[in-house]
Amino acid sequence: MSKTVKFKIDGVKIKGRAGQTIMDAADDAGIYIPRLCDVEGLSPQGSCRVCTVKVNGRPAAACTQPLTEGMDVENDILEILNYRRDIIRMLLHEGNHLCPICEASGRCELQAMGYRLGILQPAKYPYLQPVRPIDASHPDILLDKNRCIRCGRCIRASKQIDGKNVFGYIGRGIHKGLGVNGRDLAGTNVHVSDKAVAPGTCPVGCIIRKGLGFHEPIGRRKFDKVPIGSDIENPESGRGK
């Protein structure tokens, strides 16, 4: 049994275990900290910054920041909410996120985060409308990088769980994107049973399983009735359904 660490989130006293991150301890306590690049089962990489919280008054990524005794975490405050809204807006404006035609609509975590954070107002950012070709070479999987948010979940799943290197980052800065270890997806050793391409690994509609399109009717999709994070806030209510 590891040592207990006492700390506070938004004034609520919480006990975590030494070595845990803020995010893991908050999840255990039923407090949802919004996140996109972090997902259960993969090591955190702290790149999307949606999980930014204030730790003793300074911003930090909750998914990578380890607990320390007596730390004071601010999560559900307007300043942080507005940071998160801006990040989600920038992601929505950077790619081509056409929700009405996207197969991931209704189970997309980016979209669900927009709903949860109540994003309605016109943003100050322009839509960049990048032109990115679709990779439909693989018989089972389609790759539409117009929707990629560079969360790296497929990259980490491929490395850490599948023991492969199918996906990786290419480019830097605004040009950073998802690359595949081959001429195209069909030229890699990816298999449809890989965790990297499993449902739930890609939070958006970038990695799409062919032949399944729109199989969940509107009204029964994951985030139609309950906000993202409900499974953490109400674990007994069933996993987000």
């Binding site: 056409l98 035609i101 609509s105 016109p122 009735k225």
Partner: protein
């Protein structure tokens, strides 16, 4: 004093206007506190007075869309972008993916009227009647053309979110939108 509402469909499918009708019998309550000016709902073609709220459906894909949108900005105190097309271009904005072509407009028209496998066009003509509004080089979102004050997302937005937002705007209070009303699809 009743608030005046004007609405228009630019490069849209009229789905958002269907949603305006989808507020059902609440339209009678709406007409107690507001009246429609220029809108397809009453088929009024021109502004008869200055309006408080302008609801814009669709983005701009031709010059007539731009002129209409500018006219709405001039005649309305508040402009509300309604639906995915007005906010971010929606389905028509997919045309912008060919913007890396050397001659995007020609490629777009040739794909639509000549080259696409499902096209039957015996005369090989691309429509060019002078009465047709000139198509723009790409599809522009409403905020790219004029200042937009509010937006109501959805494809289309539900009657419920339109109703709640309109009543909140008329009463000058923030809209109360329970989970499930904000939708991007």
């Amino acid at each position: 004093m009743k608030k005046k509402i004007a609405t228009v469909s630019l490069a849209g499918c009229f789905g958002c206007h269907m949603s305006i009708l989808d507020i059902d019998e609440r339209i009678l309550d709406l007409l107690k506190v507001a009246e429609f000016d220029k809108t397809p709902v009453n088929d009024l073609k021109k502004f008869t007075q200055r309006c408080d709220i302008g609801l814009i459906e669709g983005g701009c894909c031709n010059e007539e869309n731009v002129h209409t949108l500018q006219e709405f900005r001039k005649n309305c105190d508040l402009l509300v972008a309604v639906g995915a097309c007005a906010i971010m271009g929606g389905l028509p904005v997919m045309r912008n993916a060919i913007m890396n072509s050397e001659d995007p407009l020609r490629e777009c028209l040739e794909e639509a009227y000549l080259n696409s496998s499902s096209v039957y066009n015996a005369d090989n003509d691309i429509p060019n009647d002078p009465a047709l509004p000139l198509i723009l080089d790409k599809v522009y979102t409403c905020p790219e053309v004029v200042k937009i004050d509010y937006q109501i997302p959805g494809c289309p937005p539900s009657g419920d979110i339109l109703w709640r937002t309109l009543i909140a705007l008329i009463n000058g209070v923030p809209a109360d939108l329970p989970y499930g009303l904000i939708r991007y699809d």
